[in-house]
């Protein structure tokens, strides 16, 4: 256990990287070994991640499994990692989803093949994603954040759909654009802190940052731009439908299930705790954008005939709920956000898996061509219905808690925030849930029911295969478990998010005291 305590999270991050290196060194024509290596390294990382989760002291608000080593002394950047109740669910989600993706990849290496490169890139991607969730040093965080870009660029660009090149470059440029401003914000934080530091924990300490409010707002805007592109918040979302639609199935799953969360996590880990005052200035704006995203995402979904593109747009709406929760700056809101992130990861990841498998059979994402699926492949259709209903937020399934808690919390945001804005956002969000239900049910009606098209009548399609079950059952089970027993996540997060709110509210109290004096 000692190894896990000391190095557990580090291993969970770097085992996939080792796996990627090992795969890169295997000779041609050893696909079996490459797949085993990928499965072994992600599996080992998952096991270690679960051991960490069990060793984790739930209910303890502070950081655990901390490790701080010198890395680049010439610019004061350290290898400082650690997790708390906010990061733990996300890193476990990342480990689990990547592992299941590798399982799925056993039979589904997309065109044009090249198993070796495909698997190595996914493992590299996993290192970047996991690393982002444990980094406690701004430069280290930035490095992991950037590490995600290159593998995803190649995954979309090589193994993607017809319009893959456009989607890949759009994704790359958008994210880099955001991250440049994020980096400038990090550097500004460094130079404004006394003593100079990139350490997230120390930056939160009292008296380390003494910023004039104008500059603080500017820095927050820079950070928020970087994170908002990743989330993506409306109006920075335009890369997402293209990237999601064109990416290979596994790429879409990872993109939706894990990578989007890096943005929202960035808000909760960096922007809000380090700059609590500007967070309160920007919170109403974020709430408004989130409300727009919810309705806008739903309206776009209603307009889609392409199943995968519809799921992609649904992410915009779901991430809108997460951002609405974050914007309230309350423990309930933050809880809703973390829960929403995990639920969206599990549900939407599952939906993308299904879309991929359906495309494999029907060679199309177009809903009119899929019509009548309930008769042709009933089990697949059933799973699609299950996940769609989970995604629209039916009580008892995972999607419910994140949405309803986000709406509830925006009724009573942190004291001092503009109530009108948040309550309007709540109402708009509520309308959004209705629209969400609308487009998912309409999708089910068009896909699962309806009259089968001429083309599909001529073919026989295999229903869900054993390997697909292997990759999906854990996610399906989680959808149910999280819906019935939300405390699984809440028990872990509550203490940490409460502390986060205290940081924000505490700042306000101090400012008020100073004003009185």
């Amino acid at each position: 256990m000692n190894l896990v305590d000391e190095w557990g999270i580090t291993l969970a991050v770097f085992l996939p990287l080792l796996g990627a290196l090992a795969i890169a060194l295997t000779p041609k024509g050893t696909e079996g070994i490459q797949k085993l290596l990928a499965l072994g390294s992600t599996g080992a990382a998952l096991v270690i991640g679960l051991m960490v989760a069990f060793a984790f002291e739930h209910g303890e608000p502070g950081l655990q499994f901390e490790k701080n080593l010198q890395w680049i002394p010439s610019i004061d950047a350290n290898y400082h990692v650690g997790i708390d109740g906010i990061s733990l669910p996300l890193i476990v989600l990342s480990l689990l989803v990547t592992f299941l993706c590798i399982v799925y990849a056993y039979r589904h290496i997309p065109e044009p093949g090249n198993t070796k490169a495909f698997l190595a890139l996914i493992l590299l991607l996993e290192t970047g994603m996991n690393g982002s969730f444990i980094a406690l040093d701004l430069i280290l965080f930035f490095v992991f954040w950037e590490l995600v870009l290159v593998p995803m660029y190649f995954l979309i660009g090589i193994w993607g759909g017809e319009n893959r090149q456009y989607a890949a470059i759009k994704f790359f440029l958008y994210t880099l654009f955001g991250s440049v401003f994020m980096l400038l914000g990090f550097l500004a934080l460094y130079f404004q802190s006394d003593p100079h530091t990139f350490d997230m924990v120390r930056l939160q300490g009292a008296g380390v940052l003494n910023l004039p409010i104008g500059l603080a707002n500017l820095i927050f805007a820079g950070l928020a731009l970087g994170f908002a592109v990743k989330v993506p918040m409306w109006p920075f979302h335009t890369w997402l439908p293209d990237a999601h639609t064109q990416a290979p199935t596994i790429g879409s799953v990872l993109l939706a299930a894990v990578m989007l969360k890096m943005g929202t996590y960035g808000f909760m880990r960096i922007a809000i705790p380090i700059l609590p005052e500007p967070a309160q200035v920007f919170a109403p704006l974020i709430a408004i954008l989130a409300a727009i995203a919810i309705v806008y995402g739903a309206l776009c979904c209603l307009a889609q005939t392409n199943l995968k593109r519809m799921i992609a747009f649904s992410s915009v709406g779901h991430m809108g709920f997460v951002m609405l929760g974050i914007a309230t700056l309350t423990p309930e809101g933050f809880n809703a956000a973390v829960f929403g992130m995990v639920a969206h990861g599990v549900v939407t990841g599952m939906l993308f898996f299904l879309a991929g498998s359906i495309k494999e059979r029907y060679h199309s994402y177009e809903m009119p061509e899929l019509a009548g699926m309930g008769l042709k492949i009933p089990r697949m259709a059933g799973l699609l219905a299950f996940c769609a209903i989970a995604s629209l937020g039916l009580p008892g399934l995972a999607g419910f808690w994140g949405e309803v808690m986000a709406l509830l919390s925006s009724y009573r945001p942190l004291e001092g925030l503009n109530l009108t804005v948040f309550r309007s956002a709540m109402v708009v969000g509520g309308i959004g849930t209705v629209l969400t239900a609308g487009y998912f049910l309409w999708m089910l009606q068009r896909v699962n029911m309806g009259k089968a098209s001429e083309a599909s009548l001529k073919h026989r399609y295999a229903d869900v295969e054993r390997l697909e079950y292997a990759a999906w059952v854990p996610l399906l089970a989680l959808i149910l478990v999280l819906g019935l027993y939300p405390r699984l996540i809440m028990d872990t997060t509550t203490s940490s998010v409460t502390r986060l709110t205290e940081t924000v509210a505490g700042e306000r109290a101090e400012v008020a005291q100073a004003a009185e004096r």
């Binding site: 950037e146 660009g157 790359f172 880099l176």
Partner: protein, 482 residues
């Protein structure tokens, strides 16, 4: 005058070897002329050993004109290593070309290298000028060494005309400073200028002339017009040599003059560098977007890279030595990283231009399927130039950003940030060609072992330096420029 031969040993060795190679080449039978490569490599290695031997020493000789300190030694190492890499690339290139005379080629490179070694140690306007000429004149010859090719002739002529004009203007600027300060030694100039308030106009003029000269060397806008044509016409290894070693030498000279002699006038030259830097990177990146030919693309990218290294001077301070130290650290670190990623990119371009490859970006289609290792290496260099982790370029950009923010140059930083995004577009376009496009040709591009070795070393440094940037960081920090 005192003469310390230990301090001068690397230069002496190199000069002797260069003359020796030129002489021996005369007496070798035609089919054994390739021996010049071996002699030159051994000569530069011996020079490198002599340089390493001087690390950590502080020697001032030739009446204060010539100084050996950490800063000088670090750059001498960079020049020697870059030259060795370029030699290795040249070896493959000359074999393929078959008509370039080996003896002259390597001799000229070594003479240019000699100028680079002396510029790193120069602490005197005259020494700096002589060093720059020492670098320039062999470079003119090298650019035109493919005598049978009209583009090479054009390259040399353009380079020569621009070069002569700009060095003449620089000399004029130097003479003005001699008139103002009454000295050519940098430290003396600095001392004599301190506190003077009656020299604003004339020093502004003189600084402008100096900027013309150095701007030409480092290919800053608007003195960069020769770059694309010269790089395209010259042999590719020569283009690498110009864009790495010669440019670095320009920066070294620029630092010495600006910080050691004219530090007190920072208020005058600071805004010029800020503007030139931003315009240079913007111009380089925007034009690079349009390029179809790989060497021209690299040429414009190298212009843009010069812009990234110039902007930090735009926040320099006349009084704040700590800030200036950060600026020098940032640019030195950038130059160290740049030497490897740029040489690597040119080396890979040389490899791709061999039989079976091509010069156009379109020829790179499907290269990942054809020559996967080479395609991976080229991508690493290009993405490093773009500043993407895990390649060393990310860190080089980071320290420049850091210097800009510390100096309060937020707008410069934002301009550079936007440029970084624009640049990614054309760097990734090449990567895209290699990985995403398919091609009819399926044969691999041949890669001779010496060239493969050079690419391998550069790639190794770029990747290891990306993950553990302190390798460069410690070196740059130890340079103790001030």
């Amino acid at each position: 005058m005192d003469v310390n031969l230990t301090a001068l040993l690397p230069e002496i060795i190199l000069a002797v070897v260069a003359c020796g190679v030129m002489t021996i080449d005369l007496f070798l039978p035609k089919e054994r002329r390739g021996a010049a490569f071996m002699f030159s490599v051994v000569g530069v290695l011996a020079t490198l050993v002599a340089v390493l031997n001087l690390y950590g020493q502080n020697i001032t000789t030739l009446g204060g004109m010539f100084v050996v300190d950490r800063f000088a030694v670090i750059f001498k190492i960079v020049f020697c290593v870059a030259a060795l890499l370029v030699f290795a690339v040249s070896h493959a290139y000359l074999k393929e070309d078959g008509e370039i005379p080996h003896g002259e080629y390597f001799t000229m490179m070594m003479f240019a290298l000699l100028g680079m070694l002396t510029i790193a140690s120069s602490r005197d306007l005259i020494a700096i000028f002589v060093s720059i000429e020492m670098i320039s004149i062999p470079s003119f010859v090298l650019a035109g060494i493919r005598k049978h090719d009209i583009r090479s002739n054009e390259a040399a002529l353009k380079f020569f005309l621009f070069g002569v004009l700009s060095t003449a203007l620089m000399l004029f600027g130097m003479s003005l400073f001699y008139g103002i300060a009454g000295a050519t030694n940098l430290a003396d100039i600095s001392e004599n200028l301190a506190g003077r308030t009656d020299i604003e106009e004339v020093s502004l003029l003189a600084i402008l002339f100096l900027i013309v000269g150095f701007g030409f060397k480092v290919s800053a806008f608007p003195f960069q017009w020769w770059v694309p044509d010269t790089y395209e016409g010259a042999p590719i290894p020569v283009a690498a040599f110009l864009s790495v070693a010669s440019k670095t030498a320009g920066f070294v000279g620029l630092f010495q003059v600006m910080f050691l002699a004219l530090g007190s006038l920072a208020g005058t030259w600071r805004p010029m560098f800020g503007i030139i830097g931003v315009v240079t990177m913007t111009f380089g990146n925007l034009v690079a977007l349009q390029q179809k030919q790989i060497v021209r693309l690299l040429a414009y990218s190298s212009i843009a890279q010069a812009g990234y290294m110039l902007v930090p001077l735009g926040v320099a301070s006349a009084t704040n030595t700590e800030l200036n130290t950060t600026i020098v650290f940032a640019v030195v670190a950038y130059l160290l990283v740049y030497a490897f990623m740029e040489t690597g990119a040119f080396a890979s371009a040389t490899a791709f231009s061999r039989r079976g490859g091509g010069y156009m970006v379109d020829d790179y289609a499907g290269m990942f399927a054809r020559s996967p290792v080479l395609a991976l290496a080229m991508s690493a260099f290009l993405l490093s130039l773009a500043g993407i982790f895990p390649f060393a370029g990310w860190w080089a950009k980071l320290v420049v950003f850091q210097a800009l923010i510390e100096g309060g140059g937020l707008w410069l930083a934002i301009a550079m940030g936007i440029n970084t995004v624009v640049a990614l577009f054309f760097y990734s376009a090449v990567v895209k060609r290699m990985f995403f496009d398919r091609s009819e040709v399926t044969t691999a591009v041949t890669l001779p072992p010496v060239l493969a070795g050079a690419i391998g070393i550069a790639a190794l440094v770029v990747v290891v330096g990306g993950v553990l940037p302190d390798l460069f960081g410690r070196l740059a920090q130890n340079s103790h420029f001030f």
